[in-house]
């Protein structure tokens, strides 16, 4: 958990970077999320006050776009690609296996806060289908059988 002070400072610096430009709200939220790894309620409230934008408008944006998370995510984001190419190559079996092995449903974070499992609609690595991205690593041509071994490398 981030302290109120860190959140305030992060928000202040980022708003300054964009000169408080209200049309840059999406970019501001992206930067805040990158710093804090999610969008805490305190950050949104702080942005609302500092930029004089109603909290409802900010909350609207934060819940509309898929990239934003209002909940803390795990250390690693596990994204199972559900692009068409991955789908026809059996991506749904990979997702089922991930859900079973991690013991969470898609969209949830494991109890130890290590992994957040999500589905992503096409990473554009169709030639490597099916793929799973864990953190920054794209794992190509996966079979469900290989997953446990790969997951053991993330600690």
């Amino acid at each position: 958990m981030k302290t109120m002070k860190t959140i305030e400072k992060t928000v202040k610096d980022i708003i300054k970077k964009y000169d408080g430009d209200k049309t840059a709200m999406i970019a501001i939220l992206q930067d805040v999320q990158e710093e804090l790894r999610y969008l805490p309620k305190e950050a949104l409230t702080s942005i609302s006050k500092k930029m004089e934008v109603p909290l409802t408008r900010i909350y609207e944006i934060a819940t509309f776009y898929n990239a934003f998370s209002l909940k803390p995510r795990g250390k690693y984001l596990v994204e199972v690609c559900a692009g068409t190419a991955c789908h026809v190559q059996g991506a749904s079996n990979l997702m089922d296996r991930m859900e079973r092995d991690l013991g969470v449903d898609c969209g949830e974070t494991t109890e130890d806060k290590m992994f957040t499992l999500e589905e992503v609609r096409c990473l554009g690595c169709c030639s490597l289908a099916p793929v799973v991205r864990i953190g920054a690593d794209v794992h190509p041509h996966l079979t469900q059988d290989e997953l446990p071994k790969i997951m053991r490398n993330y600690k």
Binding site: K41, P54, L55, T56, R57, I58, E60, T63
Partner: protein
């Protein structure tokens, strides 16, 4: 002024008017849910669709947004129009099976619920017309409620579903709601809406509790009128 034909009738209308406005002025009934004279139309419910022929092209448009144009031919009751309205009504009835407003509208339009759509249980009577959000933002100028999420998870509410600190309890959202989804409870000195309880102001003349104190404070702040000038109700003024 522009001249065009609507349901076989020649009409004249001011430029900039929408087809819906002109239709209603000519006593042609078009059903709507998300349209209200005090806020800008959004075209979200799609009930008001009509068929418009412009030149060679015929298409379905939303009459609440479509501006009248010279020489267009409008059909408000074509088969395609009816098909869209039927689908919209059936979808909304499945979303809000409890809504009497929808049931009555459907009855009038001769539309039965679609048995293949499983009725939902958690949406209340909200059809997501967004009139409440618009009224709160554009008319009242408060933005206490907004739209949340997208797609099938879309909803209307306060941020984080918590009590709104900016809500003034004016009740505009409840008044404008076409399906009576937003509940406002009044009990004498108090009013309850969006989970918050507001203290009501008694009229200094007749003693009737006529408006939330927070609302009067908001008006005072916005207009510079003193509070003492605001504590008289409209009938005693």
């Amino acid at each position: 002024m522009v001249n065009f034909i609507i349901d076989g009738k020649k009409v004249e209308a001011e430029e900039g008017k929408t087809v819906l406005q002109v239709a209603r002025a000519n006593n042609i009934g078009i059903p709507t849910l998300c349209c209200h004279e005090s806020v800008a139309p959004t075209g979200s419910c799609r009930l008001c669709v009509v068929e418009v022929k412009k030149g060679k092209r015929t298409r379905i448009v939303t009459s609440c947004l479509y501006p009248v144009d010279e020489g267009i031919v409008v059909d408000t009751k074509s088969e395609r129009v009816k098909n869209v309205r039927k689908l919209v009504m059936q979808l909304l009835m499945a979303r809000c099976p409890e809504s009497d407003v929808l049931k009555d509208m459907a009855k009038e339009m001769g539309i039965e619920p679609q048995p293949a759509f499983h009725p939902e249980t958690d949406k209340g009577k909200c059809v997501l017309c967004r009139l409440c959000v618009k009224a709160c933002e554009d008319v009242v100028g408060v933005s206490a409620i907004g739209l949340i999420a997208r797609g099938k998870k879309k909803a209307v509410g306060t941020p984080f579903s918590e009590d709104s600190m900016v809500c003034i309890g004016c009740g505009a959202c409840a008044y404008i709601c076409p399906t009576e989804h937003i509940v406002m409870e009044s009990f004498g000195t108090k009013r309850k809406i969006w989970g918050r309880t507001f203290k009501m102001q008694a009229c200094d003349k007749c003693g009737r509790y006529f408006a939330p104190v927070d609302q009067l404070k908001f008006i005072s702040q916005k207009t510079g009128t003193t509070m003492s000038d605001l504590v008289t109700c409209i009938s005693c003024k």
